[in-house]
Subunit: 466 residues, 2 copies
C-alpha cells in the first residue's frame, strides 16, 4: 500500500476529483478480461494533460511506486491487472484527436482515444485506420499500441504495429522520449517505435501516438458460406490463400459458436451448420467483383452447401454484428470464459481446427472456436466455471495442450492478445531462454526499479523486486 | 590490434582460407559508401555456418573484440566502417535461401543472400518481395534488415521493417536469440524483431531472417512526365497523393541529374527538362489502367509538357535502369559524392525541393536532386572533392542546413540510409537528449562491453569504452 502522503501528492497533481482510492473503486480496477486472480491497486489516477502525466511518472519514479496503465480494461492476457502496492493510471481524460493530416495521411492522438472514434473520424475524410480489435467500440488506441492489437482485418491490412509511425512517451525515469516521425520512411536512431509497440506498458507510458492512415477502399462485399463439416471450411481458408486472394476479412465460426450467437442475437444463422465462413473482400469495384466471384466459386468447390452474399449495407452490417457478438454470446453460457489466441501459419488452420476438437474431447471440456482464420489466428474459447476446481484444472491442461500444438505447427502462443501475466510463464517455451534473458536485460536497463507494469511479458525474475 | 593468438583462434573456427588479416585486404574493408575516414580492421572472417558464426561471437565476447558485420559494404552512413581493434564479419558465405513457403507466403534466408536474388527466386513462384534499395543487385538481406533499407517502392509497399516477421541472432554475449514467428500475427514477448530491424549490427549478429512475401501484382505501367520547372514536378507529387492514388513508385530527377544520367547511359532523356517524374502504378489491370490515366491527367494539369508511357516491358526497364543509374552517373562527375536522404512529410516535397536549390546557391556547391519523391524521401546529392578542404567545409555546412530544413518541415534526418557514424552526432537534434539516453541505456544493457559495431547510431558516450 502506498502511504497517505503519496495519495496527497497525486491529488495535488490531478485534483481530488481525478484520484480514486476507496476500496469499492479499487475493485473496478483489479481485473481485466483475462481469467486471473484480481489484485486491488492502491489508487487510480486520471491525468488530464501531458504535464500531469509526467508529474505522476516522476512521483512514482522517486517513490518506487508501480504503475499499471489502463485504457478500457479489455485486455485478455492480464496486462492491466495492477500491483497492490501500485497505482492504476487511467487514460480516459487523455482522449483528444490532436490532428488528422489528410495530405500526409496520418493522425496524432492521445492514448485514451477510443479506437472506433478515430476510425469514424478518419472515415469522414475518406481515410481508413484498419486495425479493428474485437473491442474497438471501447478499446483505446493507447491500449492497442501497448498490446499491438490485431483484429478482423489483420490478414490484408496488418495489425497495430503496421500503423504506428511514431510515439512520445515518458520512460521509467520520467524522461520524455520521442521516437519515429511523421514521414513514411524513418531510419533515424533505433526503431524504438517498434520496440514500444506491444511492450504492454513495461517500457514507458505513452503520451502521444502518430498513426498511419491509408485511402479508404472504394467498394466491399461480404458473404457467408455454410458448411456441413468444419474441415471443409478450414480447407477453404487455406484454398483462398493458396489462390493468392487476400480478403479483407476471413472469419470462421464453429457450430458451438453459431448456436451461441444465434441464441444471443437472433440474426438467422443456420444453427445446423458445422461451420460458417464470413468473408469480406474490398478495394476497387472491379477487383471486389472478381475476387468475390472467385471466393464464391472456391467455397462451393470446397463443399459449401450455401453461400449468402450481402446485397445491402444493412445485410453486411448484420453479418459482422453477428461475428462481433460471438464473445458476448459465448460468455453468457457459463460463468467463466477463457479466450485463447494461439496462432499458426495459415496453411495449418485445418490441422489446428482438428487438434482443437481432439483437445476438447480429450480434456472433456467445451471449446467454441471462432476467429481470424485467414491469418491463422483462431480464438478457441473455453467455457467453464472457475469455481469448479477439478474442471478448471482440466481447462488449464487443455490450454497448455493448445499452446503446444500451435508451437508444433510452427505457430505462436499469442497472435494478438499479448503475453501479459497469462502467457508470461510460457514465453520461454516459444522463444527460448536466451530470448527471455535478452528481454529481461533490456527491460531492467530501461526500468531498473521495475515500476512499469511489473510481471507482464517476461514474468518476475529473482532480480526483479519492487 | 588483436593479437596473433586471436587470429589463430579465428582461423581454427573458419579455416585459414576464410580469415584475412593482410594489410592490403584490410583496405578493402576499411570504408563503405559514406564519405568518412576509412579505418582498417585487424582481421576479416567469413563464417560458413551458424555454428562458426556463434563461435566467432563467443570468442569476441570473451576477448572483448569489436565486431562489425559487413554484407556488400553499400552502406551510406558509415555503418560498416570497422574499429581498428576489431574484426569485420563477412556474411558472403551465409548466402542460402533456406525456405520459400508459397502456402504461407514467407521466406527464410541467411543474412548474406543478395536482395535481388531473393526477389528473383520468389518472383518465379508468383510471389513478391517489394523492398528494393538502390543497391539491390549487390546489397544483402542481412544488411537491409540491419539498416531497415528502403527503396523505390516504399510509397506503396513500405520498407524492410514491414517485411521482417522474425529473426534469429547471436547477442553480444554469444547467446542465440529467437524472436518473431512464421505467422502473420505474433504478439508473444517483446517486438524484438522490430527493435533489431534498423539496429545496424549494434544489438546482435543476424543468423536467420524470416521475411513476409505477398502476391505479385498482375499488371504495371510506367511513365515519364517532363517538366519545365521543378516546382511543377514536385507539386504534381503532392497532387497525386492528395488524389489518394498510391503509385508503386514515384521518383523525381532534377535537371542536374537528368544530364548526368543521359551523359552516362544515353537512354534519350530530355536534357533540357527542368525535372522528370518517373512513375509506376501496379495492381489489377483495370486499376492500373484507371490509375495510369488519372496520373497522366494530373501530370498534364500540373504542367507536364510531355508524358511518355512505356508501351513494352523493354521501354519500362529502360526507364528504371535510367533511374537506377543516377547515383553512378553523378558519382562520375566529381571525386567525392555525398548522398543524403533527409526526408519530409510528402506534402512538403515542394518546400524541400525549393530549399535544396537555395542551399546549393547559398553554399555555392553542386547538388543533384533525385529520389523517392512519393514518400518524401529525396536524395540531395552533393558533388565535391574531399581534398578541397575549403569547399568540403561548405559541403558540411550545407548538409547541416539540409538536416535543419528537413526537421523544420516535420521530417527526419534519414529516410532509409540509417544513422551509422555519419548521422550519430545529429541524432539528438532530431530525437532529443532523452531519446538518445534511452537508446544508450538499452544498448549498454544488451552489449555491456560495447563490442557490437561501436559508435554507430548513438555515437560514443563517455561510458562507452572498448
Amino acid at each position: 500500500m502506498i502511504n497517505q502522503s503519496i495519495i496527497k501528492a497525486l491529488k495535488n497533481i490531478v485534483g481530488p476529483e481525478h484520484l480514486l482510492s476507496e476500496k469499492e473503486d479499487m475493485y473496478t480496477y483489479s481485473y481485466d478480461a483475462a481469467v486471473l486472480t484480481p489484485r486491488m491497486p492502491s489508487a487510480a489516477v486520471m491525468p488530464a494533460s501531458t504535464e500531469e502525466l509526467g508529474r505522476i511518472v516522476s512521483l512514482c519514479h522517486e517513490n518506487c511506486i508501480p504503475i499499471t496503465v489502463r485504457g478500457s480494461g479489455t485486455n485478455l492476457s492480464g496486462g492491466t491487472i495492477p500491483e497492490t502496492s501500485g497505482i492504476v493510471l487511467l487514460t480516459g481524460l487523455l482522449n483528444k484527436i490532436i490532428e488528422i493530416n489528410e495530405q500526409d495521411m496520418y493522425a496524432v492522438v492521445q492514448p485514451g482515444v477510443v479506437t472506433a472514434t478515430l476510425a469514424a473520424a478518419v472515415e469522414q475524410k475518406g481515410l481508413f485506420y484498419p486495425p479493428d480489435p474485437g473491442s474497438q467500440l471501447v478499446s483505446t488506441l493507447g491500449g492497442n499500441v501497448a498490446e499491438n492489437a490485431g483484429g478482423l482485418r489483420g490478414l490484408k491490412y496488418g495489425v497495430t504495429k503496421d500503423y504506428v509511425m511514431g510515439l512520445h512517451f515518458f520512460d521509467a525515469r520520467g524522461n520524455y522520449v520521442k521516437t519515429g516521425s511523421r514521414t513514411v520512411k524513418c531510419a533515424t536512431g533505433y526503431n524504438l517505435t517498434g520496440l514500444m509497440t506491444g511492450s504492454e506498458g513495461t517500457l514507458g507510458i505513452l503520451d502521444e501516438i502518430i498513426l498511419k492512415l491509408i485511402p479508404a477502399p472504394i467498394a466491399r462485399q461480404s458473404m457467408v458460406a455454410v458448411y456441413d463439416t468444419i474441415e471443409q471450411a478450414s480447407e477453404t481458408v487455406a484454398g483462398i490463400i493458396a489462390a493468392r486472394i487476400i480478403p479483407a476479412t476471413l472469419e470462421i465460426l464453429d457450430n458451438f459458436t453459431i448456436r451461441a450467437v444465434e441464441d444471443y442475437s437472433r440474426v438467422g444463422l443456420p444453427i445446423d451448420a458445422a461451420a460458417l465462413l464470413l468473408i469480406e473482400v474490398d478495394g476497387h469495384p472491379v477487383v471486389v467483383k472478381e475476387d468475390g466471384e472467385k471466393v464464391e466459386a472456391l467455397c462451393r468447390k470446397m463443399g459449401a452447401k450455401e453461400i449468402k452474399v450481402a446485397e445491402t449495407e444493412k445485410e453486411r452490417d448484420k453479418i459482422w454484428a453477428a461475428r462481433r457478438s460471438a464473445l458476448s454470446a459465448l460468455a453468457k453460457l457459463k460463468p467463466t470464459l477463457v479466450l485463447e489466441d494461439a496462432t499458426v501459419p495459415r496453411s495449418k488452420i485445418p490441422d489446428m481446427v482438428l487438434a482443437l476438437q481432439q483437445i476438447a474431447s480429450e480434456f472433456n471440456i467445451d471449446i467454441g472456436t471462432f476467429g481470424h482464420a485467414g491469418d491463422g489466428n483462431l480464438h478457441p474459447t473455453i467455457l467453464t466455471d472457475r469455481r469448479n476446481t477439478e474442471e478448471f484444472k482440466r481447462v488449464e491442461e487443455a490450454i497448455e495442450a493448445i499452446f503446444d500444438k500451435a508451437l508444433t505447427l510452427g505457430g505462436t502462443l499469442s497472435g494478438e492478445h499479448g503475453t501479459g501475466l497469462a502467457k508470461a510463464p510460457f514465453l520461454e517455451k516459444e522463444a527460448g531462454f536466451s530470448s527471455v534473458l535478452f528481454s529481461r536485460q533490456l527491460r531492467r536497463a530501461l526500468d531498473p526499479q521495475n515500476i512499469l507494469n511489473p510481471g507482464k511479458i517476461t514474468g518476475l525474475s529473482e532480480e526483479d523486486s519492487i
